[in-house]
């Protein structure tokens, strides 16, 4: 009797699981804005990408800014659609000369603890950030003096090198997040759109609308609850299941949301790119013809399709087409995928095959290993045997200890596009593993950094990019399309999708009354 009951119960359970209907009908967009709604945003708080250090001068991981940008705001904002700097906490700025930059704050700014954000506070903050132990010292170390002006809202920033041209977009990043004197890692205090409320370390961070933010009338969310999640895939599933309002998407991980009636995906082109970072001082990678052979031999489309199917722009250089001031159209066809051309370049290089190289993919993300496996197959066709040696700490093994010949990696672009050239192709930069460069690149970079607009920097970019592509200092693969997956009741009339763990500009997002 008992056995029959158990078997029946087991069978009923299986049938119940099989025939129960589909997901709940979540609210569709279009409806009134709910000013009391809080956005639940999923992000990985447990990985190496988020350090829990919420002070701008102490942040060590790229994802730290996703919270910091809301609590602190930035002096200047980069418009993701135009890639131009636009006013934010600062109402204006001026490149006085290549070594002098002037910035003026908006009137009446206050921090979330009630203290004023004026020229004196700005000077205090920048002086703190530009010297060690600040983790921003390598970028802001170029500032030699910060002088507050008599109006109380303007500071003049004197630079030890003629790089004033990069300052507007530099201050659109972590460098432009200004902290109050009372701010700490555990309780950050800024002048941004949202005020820090609480944190359960590794689990949740809560911020609420700051009523005295300069643009508070246009901030439609009551707050943001950052929730921990492990992967983009599980994050997207949580949005589809109705347990989160928004997550940052990623290629294939977005699949469950593609046809879901309750979710939407916002996309944007960013300048992050997947690439092979080569140690150009190691033979045979010190041979330009060998590097060209690699550029011909790699099937970029196969890699992009494997990792971000349908959501990419193939890379021919360090900037995507949308970056009109940096992208060089005439270089687009320089290295088409061609085994024949690769073999010709290899023959020209004089390198005897078979040759064995070692690639060091980061071990924390299987995509880098898949990327390495495709490269391995491609290079095999031209007689290059590739050993794959994953590393849990690329910074140490490849970039500092110089183990391996190249890495499969993702370069996360900074707000200022010139940083890509500076960090990868100029001397004494950690990410320039071979410390090998053409002397013309720093000269071109100086020209870029001194220009007062992005358009004026075009000539400098043209010179630098031409050299980088001609010398095949890297193998650029593709620019992934940035995406954010959200419930349809999360709306915005100006989606600013930052990607790279930066989410979106939450101050431009609202939630309708459709949210239960």
């Amino acid at each position: 009797m008992k056995r029959r009951f158990l078997v029946a119960a087991f069978g009923a359970a299986i049938v119940a699981v099989s025939v129960t209907g589909g997901g709940t009908a979540l609210a569709q967009s279009k409806g009134k804005i709910n000013p009391n709604a809080r956005l639940e945003f999923g992000m990985n708080m447990g990985g190496g990408g988020f350090s829990q250090r919420l002070q701008p001068d102490r942040m060590t991981a790229i994802c730290d800014s996703v919270v910091g940008s809301q609590v602190f705001g930035t002096l200047i904002r980069r418009d993701i659609k135009t890639n131009k700097p636009v006013p934010n906490l600062a109402e204006s700025w001026d490149i006085v000369d290549p070594s002098t930059f002037k910035i003026t704050l908006r009137k009446g700014l206050t921090f979330q603890d009630g203290t004023p954000l004026d020229a004196a506070a700005l000077k205090r903050d920048i002086d703190l950030k530009r010297v060690a132990p600040s983790t921003l010292a390598p970028t802001l170390g170029v500032i030699s003096e910060v002088v507050p002006e008599a109006d109380g809202r303007t500071v003049t920033i004197k630079l030890s090198q003629p790089v004033a041209g990069i300052m507007p977009l530099t201050f659109a990043g972590r460098e432009g997040m200004i902290a109050a004197a009372s701010s700490t890692d555990q309780k950050p205090v800024g002048a941004g759109p949202f005020k820090f409320d609480s944190q359960v370390v590794g689990q949740e961070i809560k911020v609420s609308k700051f009523p005295n933010y300069w643009d508070a009338k246009n901030v439609k969310l009551a707050g943001i609850d950052y929730k921990n999640l492990d992967t983009a895939q599980n994050g997207v599933l949580a949005v589809v299941a109705g347990d989160l309002d928004m997550v940052e998407g990623a290629g294939q991980a977005n699949a469950p949301a593609e046809n879901d009636p309750n979710t939407a995906i916002e996309r944007a082109t960013g300048a992050d790119y997947w690439k092979l970072n080569l140690n150009t001082s190691k033979p045979p990678l010190d041979n330009v013809e060998f590097r060209r052979a690699m550029n011909y031999a790699i099937d970029k489309k196969a890699i992009a399709e494997a990792l971000f199917p349908g959501n990419y722009e193939l890379a021919t250089q360090s900037y995507p087409k949308a970056f009109v001031d940096q992208h060089q159209k005439d270089l687009a066809g320089r290295y088409p995928y061609s085994v024949k051309k690769a073999k010709e370049a290899l023959a020209k290089s004089g390198v005897k095959t078979p040759v064995t190289l070692t690639v060091v993919p980061p071990a924390n993300n299987p995509n880098f290993s898949r990327f390495a496996e495709i490269v391995q197959a491609n290079l095999k066709e031209i007689g290059v045997d590739l050993t794959i040696a994953p590393s849990t700490n690329l910074l140490q093994t490849f970039f500092r200890d110089k183990q391996g010949d190249f890495v499969t990696t993702l370069w996360p672009a900074r707000p200022d596009p010139s940083v890509t050239i500076q960090r990868n192709f100029t001397p004494n930069q950690v990410t320039n593993a071979g410390n090998n460069y053409s002397p013309e690149i720093p000269t071109a970079l100086a020209e870029i950094q001194a220009a007062d607009t992005q358009a004026a920097a075009r000539a400098g970019y043209k010179k630098a990019i031409n050299i980088i592509v001609d010398q095949a200092y890297e193998v650029p693969i593709f620019f992934p399309v940035l995406s954010n997956v959200h419930q349809k009741y999360v709306v915005s009339d100006d989606w600013q999708v930052y990607g790279s763990c930066q989410g979106v500009d939450f101050s431009k997002v609202a939630i309708t009354t459709k949210k239960k």
Binding site: G23, G46, S51, A132, A137, V200, Q203, K227, L237
Partner: protein, 315 residues
């Protein structure tokens, strides 16, 4: 019995010493230097990295650092996290209850499912029900935890929206929501435990059911419930108890995966985060704490075993 307990407790001292050497020695084998990250990552200069190494005391001899650490650890002071700058003991104290709730619930699930399945299977070996249980438990043992979690999330949260896919709600905030959020982690983690207990109990029970005293009990007309419940189960419980002790260590370790997948900030995800960030003090403190808990649980199991079986005390 007291002598037995004392002997067992004293044996823990060298064991914990060896564990502490291994745990602290992890710093030597885990690749990467936290000083690089703390000095600014790829933007760090060599000078700044050296400064940070000195600040962290990483330039001092290993034995000196170990001596200091073990002295403090003995007082449950594991130092401060390199990143959050909070005392590690406090962070563990905040996270451990969540891990305990997951592991405890998974163990309860394992017992509630595993014991009935073990009985069904063990009382009639080679019957249809036995073969069904063996098949199910074999499958449950073979299924990787992360895959099971994903399937459960898809079936019960994404497609059917019966349960939440992630997150944690404290019991004090809402008991109902706490329960809802814990069901999937419990099933995910407890499935292997249930299968292991069922198989262990099946083996022990089928042996016992064939023994003389059970045959005698049946022949004198005792009802089957009494034969199994009072006589057979009691004699079969000792090996199951051993398995339960081992399962507790597995459950504590298994929370690393489950907490990550379900976005719960417990001790398991704390260890993983510490490893990802090269936060050595946090990593050492948390692993040492888990080792301590495992050792204590094993001690309790040993004592319980001795209570159940007087022969163990004599040996």
């Amino acid at each position: 019995m007291l002598t037995f307990i004392l002997r067992r407790v004293l044996a823990l001292i060298p064991l914990l010493f060896i564990v502490s050497v291994i745990v602290y020695g992890l710093i030597l084998i885990v690749p990467g230097d936290p000083a690089i990250t703390l000095a600014g990552g790829e933007e760090a200069t060599n000078e700044r990295i050296e400064e940070v190494q000195k600040e962290l005391g990483l330039d001092r001899p290993f034995l000196v650092r170990y001596g200091e650490w073990v002295g403090n650890a003995a007082q449950l002071d594991f130092g401060r996290s390199l990143y959050s700058d909070l005392p590690i003991t406090e962070e563990i104290a905040e996270r451990f209850p969540k891990t305990l709730q997951i592991a405890g619930g998974a163990l309860a699930f394992g017992l509630l499912v595993g014991i009935p399945l073990g009985i069904i299977s063990g009382i009639r070996p080679r019957s249809v029900s036995d073969r069904a249980v063996v098949f199910i438990t074999s499958a449950a043992i073979a299924i990787p935890t992360f895959w099971l979690a994903l399937i459960l999330i898809l079936q019960l949260a994404v497609y059917r929206n019966i349960l939440p896919s992630r997150g944690f709600v404290p019991f004090s905030e809402s008991p109902a929501q706490w329960f809802e959020h814990m069901i999937l982690p419990w099933i995910t983690l407890g499935t292997l435990t249930a299968a292991t207990i069922a198989r262990q109990l099946r083996g022990a029970l089928s042996d016992t059911m064939g023994s003389d005293h059970i045959r005698t009990s049946r022949s004198v007309g005792l009802p089957p419930v009494k034969v199994v419940g009072k006589h057979a189960l009691k004699n079969s419980s000792a090996p199951v108890l051993t398995v339960v002790g081992l399962q507790i260590a597995y459950l504590l370790g298994g929370t690393v995966v489950v907490e990550q997948i379900f976005g719960i900030a417990g001790l398991g995800s704390y260890v993983l985060t510490a490893i990802n960030r090269k936060d050595f003090p946090a990593m050492q403190g948390a692993v040492m704490f888990i080792a301590l808990i495992t050792v204590v649980v094993n001690l309790i199991v040993d004592i319980s075993y001795a209570l159940l079986n007087p022969k163990v005390r004599v040996e």
